[in-house]
């Protein structure tokens, strides 16, 4: 049985005239890394809110269908305690600083305090998560005085420290520069290595192609397709749904249209490189 399952889910926000998601059936397996892609307004954030249970717990509106998590409907969980099972991180770094605490260390510890963990264990866990997220040197800083990228890493640390099984991450890098983006993806890669289930909304296709396992494509509130990343990302027709595709796929498509198809479904630079050098043969020798 799937770890998380959406069964014919349709959801309409209050006052909205049409559903943000309609008739979505989706299965998410434990320990896999899913990327959710699609145009803005296609329902990606709504999907995140559903899986985390913020819909219907926090957002009213009309919800049909059911979300199952680890064997029982989400509605049967104590919503206050879902934080320990499903971690949630989103786009705006600034709004993910709670404001309840005045140092980075205390900010990260805040969730564990709410969890009621003994103080010595809190210290241990916070120290270790600050190492893995590379923010140990920010320990005593006021979280509001950090750069966006640093705040986003504090947000990751604050959720990571709760050790949830699932991470729902909504466009974490759209406001960050390439260096900070890389650091965030290193953290996500670390989560994957820990065997966590990850659901990530991301526009940067090169990163999607490189890091994730599975891809979920949404368009206009509908699930277009889902599956292994090579199968999905090489579907050039997705461009018509406003979905960006990796550069390697677009290059392969141009070559295919000119009558020079590439074998296989390369989606990253390191995948297309050997295929090209094998096929063009002359690479680096004549040039």
């Amino acid at each position: 049985m799937a770890y998380i399952e959406l069964k014919d889910v349709t959801y309409t926000y209050p006052l909205a005239d049409r559903p943000s998601l309609s008739h979505v059936d989706l299965k998410i397996e434990k320990g896999r890394f899913y990327a959710v892609i699609g145009a803005n307004g296609s329902g990606k954030t709504t999907l995140c809110n559903l899986i985390r249970g913020f819909i219907p717990e926090f957002y009213q509106g009309e919800l049909l269908g059911e979300v199952i998590f680890d064997g029982k409907p989400l509605s049967e969980y104590d919503s206050g305690d879902l934080a320990w099972r499903i971690g949630y991180i989103f786009q705006n770094p600034f709004n993910q600083i709670t404001g309840a605490r005045d140092t980075v260390f205390a900010e990260i510890a805040y969730g564990l305090e709410n969890m009621g963990l003994p103080v010595c264990q809190i210290r241990e866990r916070v120290n270790s998560v600050m190492e893995t997220t590379g923010i140990a040197d920010l320990k005593d800083k006021n979280p509001f005085e950090l750069s966006g990228g640093q705040q986003q890493r504090v947000a990751f640390a604050s959720v990571l420290v709760l050790e949830p099984d699932v991470f729902v991450i909504d466009e974490p890098t759209s406001q960050l520069d390439p260096r900070e983006t890389k650091r965030v993806f290193d953290i996500i890669d670390g989560m994957k290595a820990m065997g966590k289930t990850i659901i990530l909304v991301e526009h940067k296709m090169e990163l999607v192609a490189r890091y994730c396992d599975e891809v979920i494509v949404l368009s206009n509130g509908k699930l277009v397709c889902t599956g292994e990343k090579h199968d999905i990302l090489s579907r050039v027709e997705l461009l018509d749904d406003g979905v960006m595709l990796p550069q390697a796929v677009l290059l392969a498509d141009t070559l295919r249209k000119q009558g020079r198809p590439i074998q296989g479904n390369p989606i990253t630079l390191s995948e297309i490189l050997p295929l090209l050098s094998k096929q063009i043969g002359f690479a680096g020798k004549e040039g």
Binding site: S79, G87, N95, G116, V119, S158
Partner: protein, 252 residues
Amino acid sequence: MPGHNVIANLYPLTKFYMAVVLMAVSFMLPGIASKLICFLFINALAAASGVWSVFIRRELETVGVLFLILFVIQTLFYPDARRILFTFWIFSVKYEGIMFALNLGLMLLCAGGSLIWFFAVTKQKDFVLSLEKAGMSPKASYVVLSTLQIVPVLRRKSKTIMNAQRARGVETEGGVLTRAKVFLPTMIPLVLSSIAGTEERALTLEARGFSSSRTPTHLEDIKATPADKVAVILITVAFVALIAGRMALWLI
């Protein structure tokens, strides 16, 4: 803020009790002399807690200014004054006015001073935590703490917004009228983005288990010690003695 000072290290609620008692006393004391003694006592208390310089600066900046204004106005314009001390130009200095100003002013110095002393020796977050432990809702304590944190952030943000509006032709450099016109273009984005921020911050709190039913622990916990018991008893005894003394004087 001092690290090992005995008074400063008392439990926030003990210090708060002290401040409240001092305020009550300053309202209760009869004459200028007794109020002056009370004010000197608060100064001594601040010095003993190791925060006198902070205390006196804040006291002068706030209540001190009020005292000065009060003194000038009452001295010169006290109605129905009988004793005129001296007169210069169109002003006359009135004895009753001076006495009234000193009485009221010293009372304010004492009452305000006790609060200023309290906040000088108590971290706001410790005070809030002690209130939470005494039964205040965690939601209320979150609101207080986050407001304290977010005010400086909003101040910075309004500066950015003002720059963004200047860049599209809103004149911010100039007289009162010019600056009044800037009000809407800067306030609306500030308020709207704060509202949008509130929703996301609520989700952030949920994601940190804010509404969990578990009993929270506290990383920087504070506990009342035997010293607090002693302090509370001493303060109470002194307070009761003062009331008794005041009533005795009354009766006699």
